[in-house]
């Protein structure tokens, strides 16, 4: 009798448990089903990158070191365009000033026989981006047009991508950038202001691409590659920076990219940068 009662307890207990379990499983499977549905909807993957003729651009940059005078206009233009952190002496001392673009000098040899070069340095937007492979949350990824993007709200700030960037051209926000009033009034409304604890990098000013596309569409015309010009390209007084579609064999960039003077930085690593430099001479 007693045992039976206990058995009842046990049985009810078990039933209750299994009930909850199945309910839980049900809900979750439902969720999975839902997700899978969404995936079905997305097939085939929607693309509006392609123009009507199905041509998909692959954005790339060519920097002619023979024209470049290392004046740094691109650096400042980039900073102004992208609401770059201001920095101060102390931050600079600590190596925490962020500039998506800077001038990289290479000075070799002994006085007075010196081989020297000074090259504008920015994210190389590799076709095999090392930073993308190692990001644990896909916060950085290569989009269908070859732009290597950083999605700030997704980034967890592990700095793995920065470590794996052979060019050390991604930047981490060690603290919140300080913008004393009224500096924010001058911010470019098209670009997000970054905050502490995330990684940021050159975007090839893709906010300009977003706007250019829409503009072209609104004017009811086909989007032309020349509608999209990053700030550094626009700024260069020497017109030493070219930007355009590497997939289009007719474009100036792809012509220059195949010139004899063309080389890419740390090519041997196989990162396949989309920023191509042209040697002097």
């Amino acid at each position: 009798m007693e045992t039976k009662g206990k058995f009842d307890i046990l049985r009810r207990k078990l039933i209750a448990l299994f009930g909850t379990l199945t309910a839980a499983l049900g809900v979750f499977s439902l969720r999975r089903k839902l997700a899978s549905q969404e995936n079905k909807e997305t097939e085939p993957a929607p693309e509006n990158h392609e123009s009507q003729n199905g041509h998909k651009p692959r954005w790339g940059m060519v920097i002619d070191l023979d024209k470049c005078t290392g004046c740094g206009a691109c650096v400042v233009a980039c900073s102004v365009e992208n609401n770059m952190m201001l920095g101060d002496a102390q931050l600079a001392e600590q190596g925490r000033v962020i500039r998506w673009m800077y001038l990289l000098p290479m000075i070799e040899g002994e006085y007075p026989n010196i081989r020297s070069r000074i090259m504008p340095m920015l994210c190389q937007h590799c076709d095999r981006p090392p930073c993308v492979f190692v990001c644990p949350v896909s916060a950085t990824y290569k989009n269908p047009e070859g732009l290597v993007a950083q999605i700030y709200p997704r980034c967890i700030g592990c700095r793995y991508c920065v470590n794996n960037c052979p060019y050390t051209i991604k930047y981490f926000n060690w603290g919140d950038p300080e913008f004393p009033q009224p500096i924010p009034k001058g911010f470019n409304p098209d670009v997000a202001v970054r905050y502490k604890g995330i990684v940021e990098k050159c975007t090839f000013c893709h906010h300009r691409l977003q706007i250019a596309r829409e503009k072209a569409k609104a004017e009811g015309r086909e989007f032309r590659p020349e509608d999209y010009v990053p700030a550094c390209v626009e700024a260069c007084p020497a017109k030493a920076i070219y930007f355009g579609d590497l997939n289009d064999p007719e474009s100036e960039v792809s012509k220059l990219a195949h010139s004899r003077r063309a080389f890419r930085l740390l090519e041997e690593l196989g990162t396949q940068p989309k920023v191509i430099y042209l040697t002097e001479g």
């Binding site: 045992t3 206990k6 058995f7 307890i9 046990l10 207990k13 002619d64 023979d66 024209k67 470049c68 005078t69 290392g70 004046c71 740094g72 206009a73 650096v75 400042v76 233009a77 900073s79 102004v80 770059m84 201001l86 920095g87 101060d88 002496a89 600079a92 001392e93 000033v97 500039r99 800077y102 001038l103 990289l104 000098p105 000075i107 040899g109 002994e110 006085y111 007075p112 010196i114 020297s116 000074i118 004393p180 009033q181 009224p182 500096i183 924010p184 009034k185 001058g186 911010f187 470019n188 409304p189 202001v193 626009e234 700024a235 260069c236 007084p237 020497a238 017109k239 002097e280 001479g281």
Partner: protein, 820 residues
């Protein structure tokens, strides 16, 4: 085991387990719970003002330097949020130099002067109390009236810094209306080109026609960084390199330190500081000796090449014989440290590649002469790709100003700095003499009016200025930022920055095309500030009398429009581009009856005026010199110096005992520091592009790119030392040292740099402010403090490169030096 104890266990465990499950579950989903239970705020906490408004691109003019590039400012809801070059502007063709992009940062700089200020504490204590414009102007005008009533208007000293041409006109007008001859321009002589030599030898202003040159050799002129008009230089460089498919122009750079120009040049030839001119004359020697020079040009268009006889029948030394006498390659090569093969090679290259161009900066007068005459020798004057000579393009003209008796009297009295033409024959007023003259001149200086002038930062041996300024009873400073000099002012009149005020300046492109850059304010003034011209207008009003009669206009735009009437009536030229479509109708009307207003409106709307036709024809080979020719032997100078001066002082030569013998006794003035011992080095100073004109240190975006060739993105003043020297001194990278000269010492960070000779240390000018906003103050140090005041005998320009210094490790004592 029996069902009994199983049950027992269940009892024991049950509650426990469900509870624990729940607990761990909560732990796992904690972030979710937080998300759920904290109310998520609607909207966002703004990182910056959300701008909902239509955007527009308004033209403006960059005020960062004389070049006057045109910019387009992206304005949304009255905020300037973007900037780019004005593609229609002939000077910069849609590009900008780094400084141009920071106009916005300057506009929204947190440390601008926001209202007129009155000094509270004692001078330099930097304690101010905000006052209204009425008070401020009232006080100033009251003081000035008093000065005039005392009948000594000449005791007002006006110091002007970086101004645009129109402001300069108004300031000069003010000085003459007020009646003081003492209006002095202060500022760096870096990056102005060989203006003095040009005026002495051609009587004209000039441009380097870089773009079409076939060979360029620059004597100590870091022209990619410090060209008068940086954007044009940069563009020209790109054209020289890749512009023309068939040829790539060779560029040779001669400088004691591997500057960016040196890096980009095909050949960098290091020489001892201030021996560039010797090299130039060495090259000239070869060219003359081997008859490589342009006979036609030298024969027909120059004076003083051969020896010549004056009206009194005295025979004078000619350039040719001087060269052949003094500058044979062996001697030069010994003096400069450049072997004579190189000299020969350069000479041939320079003579044979035509048109070839030799550049130099505003260094010692005779160095400028040497390089200019080198150009003349090969006939690269007035030719495409050579040196194009022009008279200044100055379209602003106003009716002569009213002057009362006081003013005339004041103007007639001689200026404080100069007494006779013998010293500094080619200078009007010598800014570097000002402090000494304030301290001990024939008459006291009762008031100083500073207009964007900051001599306490930008001149050698700053101490003098501080002392001098302190003695002046009344100092007014018009400025946008509290700079070192303003610290000593009694009243600060805040200036609007470029984007807030009317801008008007005039230049010629390298090709000589006259350009008038003119623009409206693109944003409302952020603070209670006025543009310089507006301040002058209101000031004169309250001074009254003839002074105010000379300034009858309501505001800057009216005055500006009036000053351009002449240009309008001349009927030449046109706006930079088609005026915006918004003004379509009015534009059509204007076709029928052009009026000054419409013309002015269109020019302002498009950012300027230009006359492209000028470019087509080259300037005629006529020169505004006594001889009407290009003068190797400057008669102008002879006239000023007097008949009996030795010929050599009218000819290009090297100012060094080595070449001057007896005459050059006390010429070489560089002095080794006393106190302590140790090796001394030439201190070589240069100005990075971003600090051009002594401004730029207050803008964080500019700070970073100074000295970018050192792979150090640091905000600091560095001293470049050759690694071997550094080893001898036991100096590591980045350690702090004292750079010690007889008059002071500065702290700087060691950069071991292969680009400097062993006996030279190089330092950048532009940092080391003790005021001037949060980003400039106490960043780096100012080498001016160790440079003794040594002036060029002819132009009165300070000579920066003559200092000998010692390098002392930080912490080590170094005699009793004044610490800066």
């Amino acid at each position: 085991m029996s069902m009994k104890d199983l049950m027992k266990e269940i009892k024991v465990n049950r509650r426990g387990f469900f509870k624990w499950g729940a607990i761990s579950g909560t732990a796992a989903t904690l972030p979710l719970w937080i998300q759920k239970l904290l109310p998520s705020p609607v909207g966002l906490k703004e990182t910056r003002p959300k701008l909902y408004g239509e955007e527009s691109f308004l033209p403006s003019v960059c005020g960062c330097c004389e070049a006057g590039c045109g910019v387009l400012v992206r304005v949304i809801k009255g905020n300037a949020v973007g900037i780019k070059g004005n593609p229609h502007h002939p000077v910069n063709k849609g590009a900008l130099c780094p400084k141009g992009f920071t106009l916005i940062q300057e506009l929204y700089h947190p440390d601008r002067v926001k209202t007129p200020l009155k000094r509270k504490g004692d001078r330099g204590s930097n304690e101010w109390k905000p006052i209204s414009w009425e008070e401020a102007l009232g006080e100033v005008s009251e003081k000035l009236r008093e000065i005039r009533s005392k009948g000594e208007p000449h005791s007002l000293l006006i110091l002007t810094g970086s101004t645009n041409k129109f402001e300069r006109l108004m300031l000069r007008r003010f000085s003459s209306a007020f009646g003081t001859p003492n209006i002095v321009e202060v500022g760096w002589c870096f990056g102005q080109g060989m203006v003095d030599a040009a005026s002495a030898m051609m009587g004209l202003n000039f441009n380097f026609d870089l773009e079409d040159a076939a060979f360029i050799i620059s004597f100590g002129f870091d022209w990619l960084q410090s060209f008068p008009s940086p954007v044009e230089a940069t563009y020209a460089y790109s054209v020289l390199r890749r512009g023309k498919p068939d040829r790539r122009v060779r560029i040779v750079h001669i400088e004691p330190h591997l500057s960016i120009t040196g890096i980009k040049a095909d050949e960098w030839i290091p020489v001892k500081p201030y021996t560039e001119s010797a090299l130039a004359l060495g090259i000239a020697h070869v060219i003359v000796a081997e008859g490589l020079y342009d006979k036609d040009f030298v024969l027909n268009h120059t004076f003083g090449f051969e020896d010549w006889v004056d009206e009194k029948g005295r025979v004078h030394l000619g350039f040719k014989s001087l060269l052949l006498r003094d500058y044979e390659p062996e001697r030069v090569s010994k003096f400069t440290g450049v072997d004579k093969e190189t000299i020969r090679r350069l000479a041939y290259e320079f003579a044979e590649k035509k048109p070839s161009l030799a550049l130099t900066d505003r260094t010692r007068f005779y160095d400028q002469m040497a390089v200019l005459s080198l150009n003349a020798l090969v006939g690269s004057i007035g030719v495409k790709g050579g040196i194009l000579h022009f008279d200044d393009f100055f379209p602003f003209s106003l009716p002569p100003c009213q002057q009362d008796e006081i003013a005339r009297k004041g103007l007639s009295s001689n200026p404080i700095t100069k007494t006779d033409g013998k010293i500094f024959p080619l200078a009007e007023l010598v800014s570097e003499e000002v402090p000494d003259s304030i301290l001990n001149s024939s008459y006291p200086v009762n008031a100083v009016l500073l207009y964007r002038a900051n001599p306490v930062f930008s001149s050698p041996d700053l101490g003098r200025w501080v002392e001098a300024i302190k003695t002046v009873p009344f100092v007014v400073s018009m400025t946008s930022f509290l700079d070192e000099t303003s610290m000593f002012a009694d009243i600060i009149l805040p200036l609007s920055v470029t984007l807030e005020s009317w801008q008007a300046t005039s230049t010629r492109t390298l090709k000589g095309v006259p350009v008038l850059s003119l623009s409206k304010p693109v944003v409302e003034p952020l603070y209670d500030t006025l543009s310089g011209v507006d301040i002058l207008l209101r000031l004169t009003k309250s001074i009254g009398g003839t002074v105010s009669e000379s300034f009858p206009w309501q505001d800057a735009s009216e005055a500006l429009k009036e000053s351009l009437r002449g240009l309008f009536t001349s009927g030449q030229g046109e706006p930079l581009s088609e005026p915006p479509a918004a003004e379509e109708e009015s534009w059509i009307e204007e076709e029928t009856k052009p009026t000054l207003d419409k013309w002015f409106k269109n020019i302002a709307a498009t950012g300027g005026w230009t006359d492209k036709k000028v470019a087509e024809k080259l300037p005629p080979l006529k020169f505004k010199t006594p001889s009407g020719k290009f003068e190797f032997y400057s008669l102008t100078l002879r006239k000023r110096l007097g008949e009996e001066t030795p010929d050599i002082f009218c000819l290009p030569h090297v100012e060094d005992p080595e070449f001057l013998g007896e005459l050059g006794k006390e010429v070489r003035l560089s002095v080794a520091p006393q106190g302590g011992d140790g090796k001394t080095f030439h201190l070589y100073l240069f100005v990075p592009l971003v600090f051009k004109g002594g401004e730029g240190a207050h803008l964080p975006y500019l700070q970073g790119i100074a000295g970018s060739y050192l792979s150090e993105h640091r905000w600091e003043t560095w001293v470049e030392i050759n690694p071997e020297t550094a080893d001898e001194l036991g100096l590591e990278n980045d350690e702090f040292v004292w750079v010690v000269s007889p008059i002071g010492r500065v702290k700087a960070r060691v950069k071991r740099y292969v680009g400097v000779p062993k006996d030279v240390v190089a330092m950048p000018l532009g940092l080391g402010h003790t005021a001037y906003g949060r980003w400039a103050q106490y960043v780096g140090s100012n080498p001016s403090a160790v440079v003794p005041k040594v002036l060029d005998k002819i132009t009165g320009q300070p000579l920066w490169q003559l200092t000998l210094v010692r390098i002392v490790k930080e912490g080590k004592s170094d005699g009793n030096q004044r610490q800066i």
